[in-house]
Each structure stands twice: as structure tokens, then as C-alpha cells.
């Protein structure tokens, strides 16, 4: 096991560095760096699954180079699960990248991309298994920086640089809160190792505990993209190369979930009830606002990024219920809720990865992310279309795919609130569940729009003229993920049986209760059960059966191709099709209190009273958190900086004087201590 772990790390190193040796042949560098990442992913998936099955953790420890303690890694069940998610998704993205990166050849430096790509994966793996707060922060920073360089990989574009800067600022605000949380823990425990944190958890004073919780929640919430800390996510994720976007949305933001779990079920001792309520409130806010903003997007990758915010909300709904149950001492229900959150983490990695890769395929062929310019791609890219459809069905939580299964579990986790203490829990948890239903239905609308406008109908612009299907490696990359969407759904009872060990390993003793039996998933309160395999089989039987039966009964019937119904006015053109903006118009109007839509219509008539030569239409929505929090804050900072400029004259004498004054003040301050 230890050997495999080291192999994975070495493979990432090799993959990252060796690409530079092939500076001459970009194709060779591309293959080498991505194949080695894929191989490392395979190794990681293998040993993490072995740990999950055997339920035996392993650790590695290296001597103390610094006073901050040993550099130690432990792959326990929780770490193994996250290593599995990262490795699994990285196999698919690495294979996809071989074809996708060809687009950059001759234009950009492939070895550099490969280097940061491998570094990014390595940092994520290390973050989820390191056992020392000091090194955790180093790897966390490494992960953030590697992903920053991937975001600004196309740095000739202005928006990429802007997004990168925003990401850098937000991620460091987050990191400072994380550092504060660890520092508070260090003050109490006296050491940086996670073991010390855990050992002193029981004696943590309440005030300190609450302060650490809030710091950790804000810090990791920023990485998770939880509303209102999400502002960087829809900017940064779309700018990265698509296979990296898939990793950022699919797993990087999940490392925050890992860390929150470590804090809540380890470092902080007994959970407080109000923590759960705070988590649940931000979760439902992220779920609803995430999908509502995704609905209004016409930029395919931004749409997917907003939908990641929604899915982080769904994961946090499960996690929040887990904290609520844990605080009331019901560890069985808590472990079910956490299992639901973990299962959704895995499923989201699969289908969001798939959707990002598919959008990368579209991008590489059409060179546009604006879905208004697409249309009719299903005939030119049949494979991409079918695979995107699988992802769209899955993310819309439609049976029989994996998105439905984990959303069902989240429903059940929320409905366990019926058995909760107090009318509040019993009332709000089903209410949250119904809002989750709203989010699911809105997600279906959103991905209907995305799939329908991109792939169906007639081509809307020149962008789709010379489009052909993507290369084999890209198809395989997407195919692996699409296949796992089916696989995770059908094998859900067994997966859940394995995943439930993770919360149990975190919480110690958990009373036995049924989550899964044979091919059924159960709610531990016995309210309900589903059979994922049954649903799949029944649908697989009934739909083809209907088709065959009707063919047999009716025989072959004449079928004629004809133009669309044009109401008797010939001359339909593709531009008359419904647009993406039009598709989301009803919702924009219904939720206008949230979007505050503004629109401007300009008519140019060039002197004619009646004949108009051109019309311009502009429609915008406002993002409330941007307008209420971030814009005022950034304005404030630039005003303050302008003020601070007054003391910066540029004369060296003045700066020497500043240094002198500071020194004297420090000496005075020091001597008083």
C-alpha cells in the first residue's frame, strides 16, 4: 500500500518534469505527461479502493525537518475515499487531455501545462492525506497556486487574467481563515499534528470551538464556492482548459468538504446544533441561487460552474443534517446523512466531469462557449451529444442515473428530520427537501436548455459549419465517466454499504441500522426504499418492449420527411428558432425579484420614420451578492488605496524617514513589554 502511494506521487513528479525533456516534440510531451497522470490515477484508484474494502488505514512518516512536527501521511477511510474520487476523475480527464491539448500545440507550451496539471493533482492527493496542519497549509497553497496557473494558462486573454486575479484574492482570503482556524487549534493543543488536535478536542472551550468552526467554515466555504463566498468560482472555472475545469469543479472544491469533515468529526469534539443550522442555511442558499444563476447563463462553462455551486449545496445539505443529528446524539442518522453527502460527492465528480469534458469537446470544435451560436450539433458530433445527454440526465437527478440515487439519499437524510427533536427540525427539514426538489426540477430545465440549444435544432451560426466528431481519446475520456454514471447508479447499494464505514470510522461507535440490503437502498428510519438496479432494469425492459411491440403490431408504416410547420408563411430560417435567452425568459420574469433584469432596446432608423435598419437588444441580470457585497468592498479598497497613495511621494528620503519612525516606534513598544 505504502509503495503504491509513493508510486503515485513519483508518477506525478515524473509526469510533471519529464515533459520538459521533450521540448522538441510537443505530441510526445503531451502523451507522456498525460499518460503518466492517468497511470498515477489508476494506481491511486487501486490502493484507495483496497483501503476502503479492507478498512485498514496505512500511514507514512518522515522525520521532523522543522519544528512544526513530522511530515506524516495517513490514508484512512475518509482520505482513501477522496483519493479515490480524485484519482478516478483524473484517469478520465488525463485520457481526454491527450486529444484536447492538441488544440494548444504550436500555440502554447505543452510541457508547462503538463507540469502544472501534474502538480495540481499531486497537491490535491497530498492535501487529503497529510496529517499535519503546517504541511496541510503548504499543500493547500500548492493546490491553489497550481490551479491558478492553470486558470491563467491562456493568459493572453484579458478575462483569464482578471478571473485568475479574483481567484487568487478570494482563495487567499479563504486560506487566511483556514490558517486562523489551525492557529487557534494549535494554541489549544500545542502541536500542529492532527493527532494532537484530536486528542485535545474534548477539552476545547466552547467559545474557542465556535470561533474555530466559523473560521473553518468561511475558509473552506470559500474553496467550496458556497454562496455568498462563491464569487470567484464562475469566473475561474470556465477560464481553465476544459479538462482542468472538470478537475476543479469535480474534485478541487471537494477537498473543502474533506477538510470540513475532518474539522467537524475530529478536531472540534461535540458538535453544536447551530452549526448544522448555519451549514444548512448556506447549503440551501447555494442550491437554489446556484441553479437559478446557472439558468440565466448562456456561456456553457459558466453555466456548469454555477451548477457546481448548486451541487456543493446539495452535498452540504447532507452534511448539515449530519451535524444536526450528531449534535442531538443520533449518530445512526448522522452517518446516513454523511454517507449521502459523500455519495453525492462521488457522483457529482462523475457527471460534472463528464459535462465539462463534453463542453470542452464542443469548445475545441466550434471555438465558442456561447450556446446562442450553436445548434444542430447532434448530427455532427453524435458521440459527444449522447454522452452530454447522459451527463445532463444525471445532473437533473433523473432515474435511473447516479444523480438521482444520491439526490434520493439526500431527500431521505432531510426527511429523517421527521424523527428529529423539536417542531423546528420536523418542519424545516421537509421544507428543505421540497426546495431541493425545486432545485432538481430547475436543474432539469437548465440542462434541457444547455443540451437543447447546443445540440438540437438547426445550426444557428457559422461556428457550427465545419464541425466534426472529436478524437478517440476525448471520446474515451467522456465515455469512462458516462459509463460510471450508470455503474455508480446500479451498484449504489453496495457502494453505500462501503461508504457508510467512513462516517462510522469518524464517529466511533454507531448503532447498527439498515442503509442498504441486497439491491435495495433503505432510509434508516424505514420510511422508504428504492432499488436502483430495479429501476434501471424495468426502464431498460419497458421502453424497448414498447418500441418492438408497436413495430410488430403496426408493421412498417410510411414515413415522409418534410419541412417544419411554418403557419403557411414560407421562409423559416434557423435564426427564428427559440434562443437560450428566450428559453429562460419565463423564469427570469417569475424570479425577477432576484435577478433584477434590465434590458435596453435601441432602434436605428436612419431618418426613416417607419423603416428600421437595425435593432439592438441588450438584456442583463444582476447578481445580488456581487452588487451588494463585492462591488462595494472592492470600491472601498480602491478608495482607501487612493488615500494611501498620498503618503507615497516617491522620494527616497521620505521612505527612509518612514523606516526610521517605524523602528523607533517598535523599539518603544518592545521596551515597554
Amino acid at each position: 500500500m505504502e509503495l503504491l502511494f509513493l508510486t503515485q506521487i513519483v508518477l506525478y513528479f515524473l509526469g510533471g518534469i519529464s515533459a520538459f525533456l521533450f521540448n522538441r516534440s510537443e505530441e510526445a510531451a503531451n502523451r507522456l505527461t498525460h499518460l503518466s497522470a492517468a497511470l498515477a490515477g489508476l494506481v491511486g484508484a487501486f490502493y484507495s479502493l483496497a483501503v476502503l474494502f479492507s478498512r485498514k488505514a496505512f500511514s507514512l512518516e518522515y522525520g521532523g525537518f522543522l519544528q512544526t512536527g513530522h511530515l506524516s501521511f495517513t490514508v484512512d477511510l475518509l482520505s482513501a475515499f477522496f483519493i479515490f474520487v480524485i484519482s478516478f476523475l483524473s484517469i478520465a480527464t488525463s485520457i481526454f487531455a491527450i486529444g484536447y491539448t492538441r488544440e494548444y500545440q504550436g500555440r502554447k507550451r505543452i510541457p508547462l501545462l503538463g507540469f502544472f496539471y501534474n502538480l495540481f493533482l499531486l497537491a490535491m492527493i497530498l492535501v487529503v492525506c497529510v496529517q499535519n496542519a503546517f504541511y496541510f497549509l503548504i499543500f493547500w497553497e500548492l493546490m491553489s497556486l497550481a490551479s491558478y496557473f492553470l486558470v491563467v494558462f491562456e493568459h493572453e486573454k484579458r478575462e483569464a487574467r482578471r478571473a485568475g486575479m479574483l481567484y487568487l484574492v478570494m482563495t487567499h482570503i479563504g486560506t487566511s481563515f483556514i490558517a486562523a482556524a489551525f492557529w487557534l487549534l494549535f494554541l489549544h493543543a500545542g502541536a500542529f499534528s492532527f493527532d494532537a488536535f484530536r486528542a485535545h478536542a474534548a477539552t476545547l472551550p466552547l467559545v474557542l470551538k465556535n470561533a474555530i468552526f466559523m473560521c473553518a467554515l468561511i475558509g473552506f466555504g470559500t474553496k467550496a464556492g458556497v454562496i455568498p463566498l462563491h464569487v470567484w468560482l464562475p469566473e475561474a472555472h470556465p477560464q481553465a482548459p476544459s479538462h482542468v475545469s472538470a478537475l476543479m469543479s469535480g474534485v478541487m472544491i471537494k477537498t473543502a468538504i474533506y477538510a470540513i469533515l475532518r474539522f467537524l468529526f475530529g478536531f472540534l469534539g461535540e458538535a453544536q446544533g447551530w452549526w448544522g443550522i448555519v451549514i444548512l442555511s448556506s447549503a440551501i442558499l447555494s442550491t437554489l441561487l446556484g441553479i437559478l444563476y446557472a439558468l440565466m447563463e448562456n456561456d456553457l462553462k459558466r453555466l456548469l460552474a454555477f451548477s457546481s455551486i448548486e451541487n456543493m449545496g446539495i452535498i452540504l445539505l447532507g452534511l448539515g443534517m449530519g451535524v444536526v443529528f450528531k449534535s442531538t446524539g443520533n449518530s445512526l442518522y448522522a452517518s446516513f446523512a454523511i454517507t449521502a453527502a459523500l455519495f453525492h460527492t462521488l457522483n457529482h465528480a462523475a457527471f460534472k466531469g463528464l459535462l465539462f469534458l463534453a463542453s470542452g469537446s464542443i469548445l475545441s470544435k466550434t471555438h465558442t462557449r456561447n450556446i446562442e451560436h450553436l445548434g444542430g450539433l447532434i448530427r455532427r458530433m453524435p458521440w459527444t451529444a449522447a454522452l452530454f445527454l447522459v451527463g445532463a440526465l444525471s445532473i437533473s437527478a433523473l432515474p435511473p442515473l447516479n444523480g438521482f440515487i444520491s439526490e434520493w439519499m439526500t431527500f431521505m437524510a432531510l426527511l429523517l428530520g421527521f424523527e428529529g427533536k423539536g417542531v423546528g427540525v420536523r418542519f424545516f427539514s421537509p421544507l428543505l427537501a421540497s426546495l431541493l426538489g425545486l432545485a432538481g426540477a430547475l436543474a432539469a430545465t437548465c440542462f434541457m436548455k444547455a443540451f437543447g440549444i447546443c445540440f438540437l435544432g438547426a445550426p444557428r451560426s457559422q461556428h457550427t459549419q465545419e464541425v466534426c466528431e472529436v478524437s478517440e481519446s476525448m471520446k474515451w475520456g467522456m465515455g469512462i465517466l458516462a459509463g460510471s454514471c450508470f455503474l455508480f447508479a446500479c451498484s449504489a447499494p453496495w457502494m453505500v454499504g462501503m461508504l457508510r464505514n467512513i462516517p462510522e470510522s469518524l464517529m466511533g461507535s454507531v448503532p447498527s441500522g439498515m442503509f442498504a440490503r441486497k439491491a435495495f437502498l433503505w432510509s434508516p428510519s424505514g420510511v422508504s426504499q428504492i432499488s436502483p438496479l430495479g429501476i434501471g432494469l424495468v426502464l431498460l425492459l419497458v421502453i424497448p418492449f414498447t418500441m418492438v411491440a408497436i413495430r410488430l403490431i403496426l408493421g412498417k408504416q410510411p414515413l415522409r420527411l418534410g419541412p417544419n410547420w411554418d403557419c403557411g408563411l414560407p421562409g423559416l430560417s434557423p435564426r427564428m428558432q427559440y434562443t437560450a435567452t428566450g428559453y429562460s425568459k419565463p423564469l427570469r420574469r417569475i424570479f425577477s425579484f432576484l435577478y433584477q433584469p434590465t434590458r435596453r432596446v435601441e432602434l436605428e432608423d436612419e431618418g426613416h420614420e417607419i423603416l428600421r435598419t437595425a435593432e439592438r437588444f441588450e438584456s442583463k441580470i444582476s447578481h445580488i451578492f456581487d452588487d451588494w457585497i463585492y462591488k462595494p468592498a472592492s470600491n472601498l479598497i480602491s478608495t482607501l488605496s487612493q488615500k494611501a497613495k498620498q503618503i507615497q511621494t516617491g522620494h527616497i528620503q521620505l521612505y527612509l524617514a518612514y523606516i526610521f519612525i517605524t523602528l523607533i516606534l517598535l523599539l518603544l513598544f518592545g521596551s515597554r513589554l
Binding site: S434, A441, I543, R560, N564
Partner: protein
């Protein structure tokens, strides 16, 4: 064995009865307008005729257009097979609960709305957009009324809910569930595309929702879609009947019990059809952007139903 036989026969009953429930509402409307209206057999003849006709398919249509009618019909069939009809059991009810039921219907709708976009006509896009929007807003009300009933019965499976509710005293049960009934009734109106949400009898672009989506369909595809729409409507009526008036369902597995249950079921379903028809006759279609208000009322009713049980006790 007899259970499977009963389940299959009640599924067949729903599938075959569905067009006549639509006929009943049509006939009521005709009578209110001093028209004669179609005969009962006419609705079946219409379907038969459509099945025998050849098809005209849009040049822009892809495989989605061809797959949708079968997928929609199949999914609706599975949803119908989950519903307890004459006795409190069903063919595939073991497979899942009310949430699965809701999401199965959503799956069918997803395909239909995709097919509407597939031809690339403005009508299709319009219908698809409106259908998805309104059904998104109906979903929380639908789910929450199931949850309110689930809180009462300690189960979310449709079979379990029906048999639990059947054992309660009618007055007490209706006192608590009447609000959820109101919520589900409104959702039924929306889901089956009836006035005041959608008008099934018109092809006017300002008002069309369902009809706009299927405008490009003809022949057997149209027949399948129309039929599955009728089945979906009857499934909703059946759920309303069995969840809120569950008495007299054939608890005993005997031919006589089944027969009595069947008669009662027919009475309940046609009574509900009468209610829906009555609403259709006496109200005008709402403006599209007033429909969300109606669905919000349904959501609030469902909340109140849950809250009343929490406050007063189950």
C-alpha cells in the same frame, strides 16, 4: 401469483380507461356549451386512426425525436405500474417511493421537452420552455404534499401510504389531509394540462403549452404521446382518489372484493373527473405569468398541511 395477476390487470385497466376519462371531461364541456360532444368510442377511434396513419417527420429532427414517444410511453407506463389502483398494491411498487414516482414523470417530461426543441421550430421551443418552467414550480408542491402524507403514515411508498390512510377514521384523516388534497389537486390540473393552467382544446400560440411541444408530431408518435398524456392524467386522478378517499379498496384478494373495489374506483375517478371538468367549465385560462401564483398557493397549502399536523399532532 394472484397478486401479480391483479397488478397487471389494474395496470391494463388504467391504460385502457385513460382515454374515456378524457372523453368524460370533453363531454361535460360540450354539454355545458349546448353541444352534443363525441361519443365514448370516438376517443378510442381517434387513437386507432392515428396509429394507422403514416407520419411526416421534420427534416431537422434527430434520433431524439424518434425515441421520445416510446420513452415517454414506457416511462408513463412504469409510473402507472407503481400506482395502487383497485387494491393497495402495485406491479413495481417495490422499486421505489413517491419521490421516484415524481422523478419518473420528470424523466418522461424531459424527453418530451427535448423532442420539442429537436425540430428547431419556435412553437416547440416555446412549449418546451413553458412546460419546463411550470413543472419546475409545481414540483415542490407535489413533493411537499407527499411528504405531508408521509409524515402521517410513516412511509413514502405509494402502496404503504394508501393502505395506512385506509385504516384511519375518515373524519380525522380528512381533517388533516384536506389541505394536501387542495395542493395535489392544483398540481394535477397543472400536470395534466387542464384549464386554468393550459387549454388542451386550443392551438393558439399565446396559450399553448403541451400542444406547442407536440405540434410537429403526427401518426403513431402523436397517438403514443396523446395516450401517455391521458394515462398520466388518470394516474394523477387515481392517486388523488386513493390517497384521500382510500376506503373500500379491495383489501381482500377475492374476485368479489376486486369487483366491488373496481366499481368504487370507477365512481371515485369519474367523480374527480367531474370536479376537474367543473373547474374547467367555470374558470378561464390564467395568463401564463399568473400560473406561478396558483402553484405557489398549492405550495402554501402543502406547507399548511404539514404544519397543522406538526402543531396539532398526527
Amino acid at each position: 401469483m394472484i397478486k401479480i395477476f391483479l397488478s397487471i390487470s389494474q395496470l391494463l385497466l388504467v391504460v385502457l380507461l385513460a382515454p374515456s376519462v378524457s372523453w368524460f371531461i370533453k363531454k361535460m364541456k360540450a354539454a355545458s356549451q349546448n353541444r352534443t360532444g363525441p361519443t365514448l368510442l370516438q376517443v378510442y377511434f381517434d387513437l386507432l386512426k392515428l396509429f394507422q396513419k403514416g407520419m411526416v417527420v421534420s427534416e431537422t429532427a434527430s434520433w431524439i425525436f424518434h425515441a421520445t414517444p416510446y420513452a415517454l410511453f414506457g416511462v408513463t407506463l412504469v409510473a402507472a405500474a407503481m400506482t395502487p389502483v383497485v387494491w393497495p398494491g402495485s406491479l413495481v411498487g417495490f422499486m421505489g417511493d413517491a419521490i421516484l414516482f415524481v422523478y419518473l414523470l420528470a424523466l418522461g417530461r424531459f424527453f418530451l421537452a427535448l423532442a420539442a426543441l429537436d425540430t428547431g421550430t419556435t412553437f416547440g421551443g416555446m412549449g418546451s420552455s413553458r412546460e419546463m418552467t411550470l413543472s419546475s414550480l409545481a414540483e415542490p408542491a407535489l413533493l411537499l404534499s407527499f411528504f405531508a402524507l408521509g409524515y402521517r403514515t410513516h412511509t413514502l411508498s405509494l402502496e404503504g401510504m394508501v393502505s395506512q390512510l385506509a385504516q384511519e377514521s375518515p373524519a380525522q384523516m380528512l381533517f388533516f389531509t384536506s389541505l394536501a388534497f387542495g395542493a395535489l389537486l392544483i398540481v394535477t390540473l397543472a400536470e395534466s394540462g387542464r384549464i386554468p393552467v393550459d387549454n388542451p382544446a386550443t392551438h393558439l400560440e399565446l396559450t399553448m403549452i403541451h400542444e406547442a411541444m407536440i405540434l410537429e408530431y403526427s401518426g403513431k408518435y402523436l397517438a403514443l404521446i396523446e395516450w401517455s398524456h391521458q394515462i398520466k392524467q388518470l394516474v394523477f386522478f387515481t392517486l388523488l382518489a386513493n390517497l384521500f378517499f382510500p376506503w373500500g379498496m379491495g383489501q381482500v384478494l377475492s374476485i368479489a372484493g376486486w369487483g366491488a373495489g373496481l366499481m368504487l374506483y370507477l365512481f371515485k375517478v369519474f367523480f374527480l373527473a367531474f370536479v376537474v371538468g367543473w373547474i374547467e367549465i367555470h374558470s378561464a385560462k390564467l395568463r401564463l405569468f399568473r400560473v406561478p401564483d396558483l402553484l405557489t398557493i398549492a405550495f402554501v397549502l402543502a406547507i399548511l398541511s404539514l404544519l397543522s399536523q406538526l402543531m396539532i399532532g398526527r
